[in-house]
């Protein structure tokens, strides 16, 4: 478990370093995820080392968003003033994105499925 956390935090740290250093607008943790994926692929990191720690974090992923959400309260005034454009744009656009993404992907997947393998 500790080894798993060491690997995950280590990759986040290097991702953070790379993000700062290069100035690319990609957060360090996303770079860390890509690096870890590459390291797993190359066999430098074994899945067994990190499986337990990753499972623990991912099964509680939703909890970690709660403090960010509570931050909404600071902008209560602005949100209340422009509630109509904000709520309609947020709700409608979220459903539009799911429909567009899902339909495009499933349409292409059906075509690709016949040729693949």
């Amino acid at each position: 478990m500790i080894r798993g956390f060491a690997v995950l935090l280590g990759f986040q740290f290097f991702g953070e370093l790379l993000s700062r250093w290069s100035g690319i607008p990609i957060p360090g943790n996303v770079i860390g995820m890509a690096l870890l994926l590459a390291a797993l692929g190359c066999g430098w990191v074994k899945l067994a080392w990190i499986e337990e720690a990753a499972e623990l974090l991912l099964s509680h992923l939703a909890l970690f968003f709660v403090p960010a959400g509570v931050g909404v309260m600071i902008y209560g005034g602005l949100i209340a003033r422009e509630w109509l454009p904000i709520s309609i744009a947020t709700v409608v656009s979220t459903f539009v994105v799911m429909a567009v993404t899902g339909w495009v992907a499933s349409l292409l997947d059906r075509e690709g499925g016949e040729h693949a393998e």
């Binding site: 607008p25 990609i26 943790n29 797993l40 992923l61 600071i74 904000i86 656009s93 495009v104 992907a105």
Partner: protein, 231 residues
């Protein structure tokens, strides 16, 4: 009670975990989608802080510790991706094209609708990256000139909506492909949607995790250029 008592890490951490545990119990007991633990916990904590007149600043002292765990969790998303790498690689074209279409639809529909409905310049800009994961959304909005904390709030609201009814909505509009459903929820509702997808379906959850990164990258490159074009 002296107010500095609440400005300790213990208060924010305890409040978050206790409220979340209660919300989870309620969610399991009722099985109602509207009792989504994240949305319910956020609402409950805000109401409690307001009722007790505890400033957000004090809560955030402990809240930051919980938020910190989001970092290694994003790195950990490499695990389900790696475990499902063959299924995902075989579908690389639908995944890439699907996220690109969804990412573009997100920016255009969110900012466009807010603009049509008379939203202020700040709100229109702050809404543009609302489907992108919080850290990327904030760096994007700083570049195009919206209000970063407002974007963070909108990102979380979007995520809750996608987590509450994303998988159900996808089935309602006739989607049956697990990769397509995971991709749709991940592209629209980033990490909060992914957390729900991981509960519903492991393959869908892995793809949703991938969609967070892909949509974030795509929007980070595309959006500043799009705004240069129109301004």
């Amino acid at each position: 009670m002296p107010s500095e008592f609440f400005a300790t890490p213990l208060f924010g951490i305890t409040l978050t975990i206790v409220v979340y545990a209660l919300a989870q119990m309620l969610y399991r007991r009722t099985g109602s989608l509207f009792c989504n633990p994240v949305a319910l916990s956020i609402l409950g904590i805000i109401l409690l802080l307001l009722a007790c007149r505890i400033p957000y600043r004090s809560y955030a002292v402990g809240g930051h510790y919980i938020l910190f765990l989001l970092g290694p969790s994003v790195v950990a998303l490499a695990v389900p991706l790696y475990a499902r790498r063959r299924e995902i690689w075989a579908r690389r074209t639908p995944i890439l094209v699907g996220v690109a279409a969804g990412g573009l639809a997100s920016v255009v529909s969110a900012s466009g609708l807010a603009w049509l409905l008379g939203g202020s310049h700040d709100v229109v800009l702050s809404l543009a990256p609302k489907s992108v994961t919080t850290p990327i959304a904030i760096s994007i909005v700083e570049k195009i000139g919206g209000i970063a904390p407002l974007t963070a709030a909108l990102v979380v609201m979007t995520g809750c909506l996608g987590a509450i009814c994303g998988p159900e909505f996808c089935r309602l509009i006739g989607l049956r492909n697990r990769v397509a459903i995971g991709l749709a929820v991940g592209t629209a509702a980033h990490g909060i949607g992914t957390a729900r997808m991981l509960e519903v379906d492991r393959l869908g959850g892995a793809v949703a995790g991938l969609a967070i990164g892909l949509n974030g990258l795509l929007t980070a490159f595309l959006l500043p250029m799009l705004f240069l074009l129109f301004s």
